[in-house]
């Protein structure tokens, strides 16, 4: 356990030295803030940019405050996921590609600690960035659109965080046996896309799929209540996440030198 903390701290020091600790949260906060801002000022933006003939009456109804956060979330689901995958794809693949793991694993270091310390740091930083993004979104939403129900926001945001955790565990799973950066990142994004697409096309069939969590999260934002299969999907996703991490440790142990 002590070794785990030593390695976890090392990962943070690295994130600090290569500015990851700054740029990942900043990107999320910009993403979070931009949604309420652009929606609110769409009118002004259109007028300033021009392109509308003189005298056009253009009345876009402002959405309700609750409707902003699901839109923010879809931003996170596209650009946010890409950012996280880019930020952490080199975490194990990079060590293997450069060979920095050789001097570490020739010491009495457990392979599980090697993978899990990296995954834990990736989770910590991702959740930090995600919380920052949500906070920025909520701040501008409340200022521009009116108040939100705090419990709904908290529930919706935490459920989506579980989906993020699942995607990060996919990344660690793939990079435990794929040497290149690109391969693992690509497979992670494709898998995440397939999981969420299949869940939205077959919502009745795949009621417990991790892909349903973002819809569940939206419904929590909007109404405060979830739809059918919520608990099942939540626990199944947590189970899959743990399973993927365990598999990552085992596969990495087998393939560490290759």
């Amino acid at each position: 356990m002590k070794q785990f903390w030593v390695m976890y701290k090392k990962e943070w020091l690295e994130a600090f030295r290569n500015w990851k600790i700054l740029w990942v949260p900043i990107v999320f906060m910009i993403l979070g803030a931009s949604q309420p801002l652009t929606v609110y000022y769409m009118d002004t933006i259109l007028q300033t940019v021009g392109g509308l003939p003189e005298g056009t009456v253009f009345d876009i109804p402002l959405p309700e405050a609750e409707e902003i956060l699901p839109a923010v979330q879809s931003q996170f689901n596209q650009i946010g996921l890409l950012i996280l995958v880019l930020a952490f794809m080199g975490s194990t693949a990079g060590e293997r590609q450069h060979g920095t793991h050789l001097m570490i694993l020739s010491k009495p270091v457990s392979e599980a600690n090697f993978i899990l310390s990296k995954a834990a740091q990736a989770y910590s930083l991702s959740f930090m960035a995600y919380a920052g993004g949500i906070a920025a979104a909520v701040y501008y939403t409340v200022i521009l659109f009116g108040s939100l129900e705090p419990v709904h926001v908290l529930k919706g945001a935490s459920i989506y965080a579980v989906w993020l955790a699942f995607v990060i565990s996919l990344l660690f799973f793939f990079s435990s046996f794929i040497k290149g950066y690109g391969g693992a990142a690509f497979l992670t994004l494709i898998t995440a896309l397939l999981v969420s697409l299949s869940a939205s096309f077959l919502p009745e069939r795949l009621i417990y799929s991790p892909g349903t969590l973002s819809a569940q999260s939206s419904s929590l934002y909007l109404t405060g209540s979830s739809s059918a299969g919520f608990l099942g999907a939540l626990f199944f996703t947590l189970f899959l996440t743990a399973g993927l991490l365990t598999a990552a440790c085992i596969l990495f142990k087998k393939k560490k030198l290759a």
Binding site: G99, L102, M103
Partner: protein, 298 residues
């Protein structure tokens, strides 16, 4: 202290290590010599525990659960976290062995001094030269006071100055710890090693102490330089019954004797009897390189 028995490792169709036996003795410096691709790195990786052999065993005397606890390892191309400073890296290595931060830090300072990096300890590793990285690699391998230090090609990638630094460091270290190192730079191997293993195509084809090796492979060849008439001297030698061949080699005479004792006797006797104006007489010494070439050709 460490015994390797019947270790085998294949990659696809090629057998990288084929039924290798090795015995590393305490307080000895053992060189593993072989051409590129002989399987040296694979064998060393198996001994450190980075790779698992398909067959065979590596056993280490002592009671530790994990042999990595008492081994220090420097890979062939040590790659560091370049964003760390040298001192941070050694401290991190120490903490991985379970040392407290404080102990690891003072150990780091000590090792930076041993390896002559005390001035560069606070610089990022990215700015280190090849020789400095090699020395830092040795420093991190020493952090746990290893009983066995395994160095994979510690000098091959260095310039002559770097080589000398590392060899001198190894000579210093071998007083306290057993060393196993691989190399194809034979001059240096000769300087520090006590025991020698030669490897070819995954097989250990020869094992010996360096002293025995030199004795067994010493050829009864004598070199003579003279101010006098070299042709006459050559003819005088050719008449002797213990001489097998005489070569004239640019002002030097090479006498191949039947054996060492007869040769020693005969050369001196003949030089005295003929009143030769010799300037130099020497029994040709055999280098590890000559032996290596011979063993590999076999």
């Amino acid at each position: 202290m460490l015994r390797v028995t019947g270790v085998q490792k294949t990659y696809g169709k090629t057998t990288a290590v084929d039924n290798a036996d090795l015995h590393i003795k305490k307080d000895r410096c053992t060189a593993l010599i072989g051409p590129n691709g002989a399987g040296k790195t694979t064998l060393l990786s198996i001994i450190t525990g980075l790779l698992k052999p398909e067959k065979g065993q590596v056993t280490l005397s002592g009671s530790q659960k994990d042999r990595r606890e008492v081994i220090g390892y420097l890979p062939q191309f040590p790659q560091f976290y370049n964003w760390m400073t040298g001192r941070e890296y050694i401290r991190y290595a120490g903490e991985l062995f379970g040392l407290s931060r404080k102990v690891a830090d003072s150990r780091a300072e000590e090792l930076l001094a041993v390896t002559g990096l005390e001035k560069s300890g606070t610089k990022r590793i990215a700015s280190y030269s090849g020789g400095m990285k090699q020395r830092l690699g040795i420093a991190q391998a020493l952090v746990n006071h290893p009983e066995l230090l395994i160095l994979d090609e510690p000098v091959s990638s260095l310039d002559p100055f770097g080589r000398r630094e590392v060899i001198e460091l190894m000579e210093k270290l071998k007083k306290d710890t057993a060393i196993l190192f691989s190399t194809h730079v034979l001059g240096e191997a000769e300087q520090v090693s006590d025991d020698v293993y030669m490897m070819k195509n995954g097989k250990i084809i020869m094992e010996s102490t360096l002293a025995d090796l030199k004795k067994n492979y010493a050829l009864p060849v004598f070199l003579i330089e003279t101010k006098g008439e070299i042709q006459e001297l050559a003819e005088a030698f050719q008449g002797e019954n213990w001489v097998e061949a005489v070569e004239l080699d640019g002002g030097k005479l090479r006498i191949h004797a039947a054996n060492m004792t007869q040769g020693r006797d005969g050369v001196l006797r003949l030089l005295r009897d003929t009143n030769a104006l010799y300037t130099k007489v020497e029994a040709e010494s055999v280098s590890l390189e000559d032996i290596f070439v011979k063993v590999m050709d076999r």
